[in-house]
């Protein structure tokens, strides 16, 4: 585990979410709920439920809070392979759902771009604050960044030479604070859940060489409600572009 100094919990709650989103959530949510009830249909019930949720969440909204998440997966590969794939930070978007790109500035500094709520792009500079080859990488957003973000990942050999146990931790405050969380929570994606799913994808990349998916597969006529749900979800999903020359699978097979 990295030392405490390497993983500061962000305290700078730079907040876009003031009173405006709170009022907007309350008013918008209530209006949606009222409209849903007035429709007196299945879709109406759905709209009313979403609206009520938004309104309730609106009353709870305050300043942006820091989120901490931690997750761990046993991966069937050598710790060096997992470390090298992760350390090449340009690879991160291949398994981190909200990251759209990472560009290296120099060996320690990199520029991260994430998709924020409603498709807004947020960009900041991160720097590696600690690294131990094959064992640990820790990073945080550079001083002065709008977005407070830090994290570490640890690669530990499993018992009885059973691959590598990868443990990751992230701390951040989302742009839009509680609004961001509310939007995410409508789809059940809390920070813990997101990190867990990101790590699961990392594992799949290391072991299978690809992330399992059904996004874009053929199907028969969906119901209207589910079509709307899938349309909303597909806007959030992004296509994974697999590294052409450096397949993590090929690397792990080589060892």
């Amino acid at each position: 585990m990295p030392s405490e100094s390497a993983v500061p919990v962000p305290t700078n709650h730079n907040s876009i979410s003031g009173k405006i989103p709170k009022l907007a959530m309350l008013a918008g949510g209530s209006a949606l709920a009222a409209y849903g009830i007035a429709r007196r249909s299945k879709t109406g019930i759905g709209l009313a439920a979403v609206g009520s949720l938004m309104a309730v969440e609106g009353t709870r909204m305050g300043a942006a809070r820091p989120y901490n998440a931690r997750s761990s997966f046993a991966i069937n590969c050598a710790s060096g392979d997992a470390y090298r794939y992760w350390r090449k930070l340009e690879n991160l978007p291949s398994f981190m759902a909200h990251l759209s790109s990472v560009r290296m500035i120099d060996d320690r500094r990199s520029e991260w771009t994430v998709m924020g709520p409603l498709g807004a792009k947020v960009r900041w500079t991160a720097e590696i604050v600690d690294e131990q080859p094959d064992e640990l990488i820790a990073w945080r957003s550079a001083p002065g960044a709008l977005f407070d973000f830090s994290g570490w990942v640890e690669f530990r050999p499993g018992t009885g030479q059973r691959g590598t146990v990868v443990t990751a931790s992230m701390s951040y405050s989302m742009p839009g604070g509680a609004l961001g969380k509310t939007i995410a929570s409508i789809f059940g994606k809390h920070p813990e859940f997101l990190l867990r799913e990101d790590l699961r994808k990392f594992k799949a990349l290391m072991e299978a060489g690809e992330v399992p998916t059904t996004a874009g597969q053929t199907h028969g006529q969906r119901s209207k409600l589910m079509s709307a749900f899938h349309a909303a979800r597909s806007k959030q999903q992004k296509t994974v572009h697999y590294p052409r020359t450096e397949s993590p699978l090929a690397e792990s097979r080589a060892l």
Binding site: G209, Q217, G220, Q221
Partner: protein, 396 residues
């Protein structure tokens, strides 16, 4: 292409849908030449499997010709033009479980792993056409299918063997075989098998292959009991006896069968009080499983024997005789089939002429008749034991 879609409980339709495309580097597209309806598809038809969605393409027993492969498919293992049988479980080949030959427990093939984790703790492998909890993959009752991790599962079939002899390597033959392997058969054993459906028919024959001396098969459908007898089993029509457990006791000198197999699963029928409670819970959607056969298996099995469960269960089951299980020191073996362990050896048995799996087929139909056949198969009308679909034939 044409595809058989689940549109709701008791509502199956053949729809025109876009052809499948490669989505991942290890995918292949197979042009399907033969596909079948499985008994477990009837659980979908009857609405007992959670997480189905209108428009899902169903079916998980299919074979055909590879027409396209992704960029990372190992060409030594699979290439365009190969004729293959596709196993119903999808496996990555490299995880902890695949490397231990526990193929149906693969860690990396269920895109909805989180959903399965909520229901069963840890996710099994992805399955074709069998609920979103198990991956939500489009199934194989269609003209084409996308096959993920295509260099692991599909088994190449030499030219000259007709589809109907090898199609059931996709599920029911290996599933029946693994059901028998799970009985841990010793020479001279007596095996009791509940259900005489297609999986059980293969389990009966597999049990003899593995050294069983007697197989006792239990069902109530005359033509299925007859098919079991042809396979060498003694049969019991459970509707004609008071207590299955007493009959089995008499047949085994008061010892009980060495192993009992539940080849029925969650839609068992019976007339016990517990069964009536199951029915009521199912009607109220409190519970999806009716484990009546499993109860009988546990009670009937000899001390220190084995209960093998190839039958499908979905959620939580009540009133399992745990006291009998513990005090008689029974073993329980179950799981979705570890397909890739058994497909090749069973293909070799077919090639040597030891078994011709086409014996279970009762109906060959064009794809447009599939919706009808679900009902006919479910109600066991028209002596229906197994339906094979030709996805390219047109209805006469």
């Amino acid at each position: 292409m044409k595809a058989v879609c689940w549109m709701g409980t008791h509502d199956i339709a053949v729809e025109n849908v876009p052809d499948p495309t490669i989505l991942n580097p290890r995918d292949a597209i197979v042009r399907i030449t033969s596909t079948a309806i499985c008994g477990s598809d009837l659980h979908l038809y009857n609405g007992y499997m959670p997480t189905m969605e209108q428009g899902d393409i169903i079916g998980h027993e299919f074979m055909g010709e590879v027409v396209e492969v992704g960029s990372k498919v190992d060409r030594d293992k699979l290439k365009v033009g190969d004729r293959v049988v596709v196993p119903f479980t999808i496996a990555c080949g490299n995880c902890f479980f695949c490397q231990r030959q526990l193929w149906s427990l693969c860690d990396n093939t269920n895109p909805n792993a989180w959903l399965a984790e909520k229901m069963v703790g840890y996710t099994p492998s992805g399955l074709f056409g069998y609920t979103h909890m198990m991956g939500g993959y489009a199934g194989g009752q269609a003209q084409y299918a996308r096959v993920p991790c295509a260099d692991v599962g599909p088994l190449k079939i030499p030219a000259g063997i007709p589809d109907e002899k090898v199609l059931f390597l996709s599920d029911i033959f290996p599933t029946g075989y693994m059901g028998a392997v799970n009985c841990d058969i010793q020479r001279g054993d007596t095996i009791a098998i509940w259900g005489c459906g297609p999986v059980a028919q293969f389990a009966i024959r597999s049990a003899f292959m593995l050294g069983a001396e007697r197989v006792i098969a239990i069902d109530c459908v005359p033509e299925r009991l007859e098919l079991a007898q042809k396979g060498g089993a003694e049969t019991i029509n459970f509707k004609e006896v008071d207590s299955i457990i007493d009959v089995l006791r008499d047949m085994t000198g008061n010892r009980g069968p060495d192993a009992c197999m539940d080849a029925v699963g969650l839609e068992a029928t019976g007339h016990s009080l517990f069964f009536l409670i199951d029915r009521a819970k199912q009607a109220l959607k409190i519970n999806m499983d009716r484990p009546e056969v499993l109860r009988q298996c546990v009670l009937a099995c000899r001390k220190g024997g084995t209960v093998s469960i190839p039958g499908v269960y979905a959620s939580f089951a009540d009133n399992i005789p745990i006291g009998a299980l513990m005090n008689k020191a029974l073993n329980i073996k179950t799981g979705q089939t570890h397909m890739m362990r058994y497909m090749r050896p069973l293909l070799e048995r077919i090639e040597r002429g030891e078994i011709d799996p086409s014996f279970v087929i009762s109906h060959h139909v064009p794809i447009d008749r599939a919706p009808d056949m679900y009902r006919i198969f479910r109600d066991k009308l028209d002596h229906c034991t197994k339906v094979v679909i030709d996805p390219w034939a047109t209805a006469a």
